[in-house]
């Protein structure tokens, strides 16, 4: 691989664009493929297969050829509501995973830069904050404040936008009350039951890093189910 290609791959990853690396295994020549961008002459005959790999987000050698395709997928957007202690560990865990965390917390004393270095915290109420973040069915929500004023609007947004994972921290009782409020707000049972509450898989631990681990484990598991 040419150093120049390597560097533009790194740049594209930084810019969060979706692309594939196409390598001719017989001579080691490689190029970057992007949607709506034309391939080099020698790769053009494989254009259909390359597009197919790209669409399926698949890596592999094209059948009966010496062409290897490696697809890069975008990181998964995870919105965390509540810049609390657990959120600090979620940020740590996500560093080795392909999750891109954004934290929303209207309470300035939680969302301080010192608690979350190198991390952009949106210091606004969820309704305002969601105007700044593009979300869709591939987005996840982790609600951690267990304060209805802050969590509920975020949960409603996530349900309306059909996030693939929605989890909310709080005891069984807290969650029952939350479900009741969502029902009154007009959400149906299927929507309400899709919320993971109490959040996380059962690990037994009660400390902040242990709860963060149980949440991340559930998130990874749900990501692969989709």
């Amino acid at each position: 691989m040419k150093l120049q290609t390597l560097r533009s791959i790194i740049e594209k990853k930084k810019n969060k664009s979706e692309f594939a690396i196409i390598t001719n295994l017989s001579n080691g020549e490689s190029e970057i493929f992007e949607k709506d961008k034309s391939l080099s002459k020698e790769m053009q005959i494989y254009s259909n297969q390359i597009n197919e790999f790209f669409k399926l987000k698949k890596n592999g050698v094209i059948e009966n050829s010496e062409i290897f395709v490696e697809t890069y997928v975008l990181p998964i957007k995870v919105i965390v509501v509540g810049a609390v202690h657990i959120a600090q560990y979620l940020v740590d865990f996500s560093k080795s995973l392909n999750f891109e965390i954004s934290i929303i917390d209207p309470r300035g004393y939680f969302a301080s830069e010192q608690r979350f270095p190198e991390m952009k915290i949106i210091n606004k109420w969820p309704d305002e904050a969601f105007k700044e973040i593009e979300t869709n069915e591939n987005t996840a929500l982790i609600a951690l404040t267990h304060d209805p004023k802050i969590d509920d609007p975020a949960l409603q947004h996530a349900l309306n936008k059909k996030f693939y994972y929605i989890g909310a921290l709080g005891s069984k009782k807290t969650h029952e009350n939350r479900c009741q409020r969502l029902k009154e707000a007009g959400f149906n049972n299927e929507q309400i039951n899709s919320i993971h509450g109490p959040i996380g898989i059962k690990l037994g631990g009660r400390s902040a890093p242990e709860i963060a681990l149980s949440i991340i484990a559930q998130l990874v598991s749900e990501t692969y189910k989709k």
Partner: protein, 109 residues
């Protein structure tokens, strides 16, 4: 939905190049049967034999490192390696898991 774990291996390769090291990328390009790491998994090796990342669960890394060092010495651009099931003789390089993998080596230049 497919979640790729971002191992930042290419970023590390770039750092090594910036530190004037010669770097070989080793990438899993095909697998048959049960293999520990999926297609696209990668490790990098420099001329001293330092390495980062993985192409198996530790089964074939030492052989890959040796091959990468010779690639740099012989100044060849690329090479394809295949690893099959190891037999019972001790110390032989192979995949104890019973799978087969093809690994592609390429120099960064």
């Amino acid at each position: 939905m497919k979640n790729s774990f971002d191992e930042k291996i290419l970023e590390e390769a770039n750092d090594w190049v910036n530190a004037n090291q010669k770097v070989v990328l080793a990438t899993v390009i095909q697998t048959w049967g049960s293999s520990p790491r999926q297609v696209g998994s990668r490790m990098i090796v420099n001329e001293k034999g330092d390495f980062s990342g993985s192409v198996s669960g530790g089964c074939v890394e030492s052989a890959v490192v040796r091959e990468c060092i010779s690639l740099i010495k012989d100044n060849k651009p690329c090479k394809r390696l295949e690893f099959k099931v190891s037999n019972e003789s001790a110390w032989e390089v192979g995949l104890a898991c019973g799978g087969e993998i093809a690994v592609y080596l390429e120099q960064v230049n």
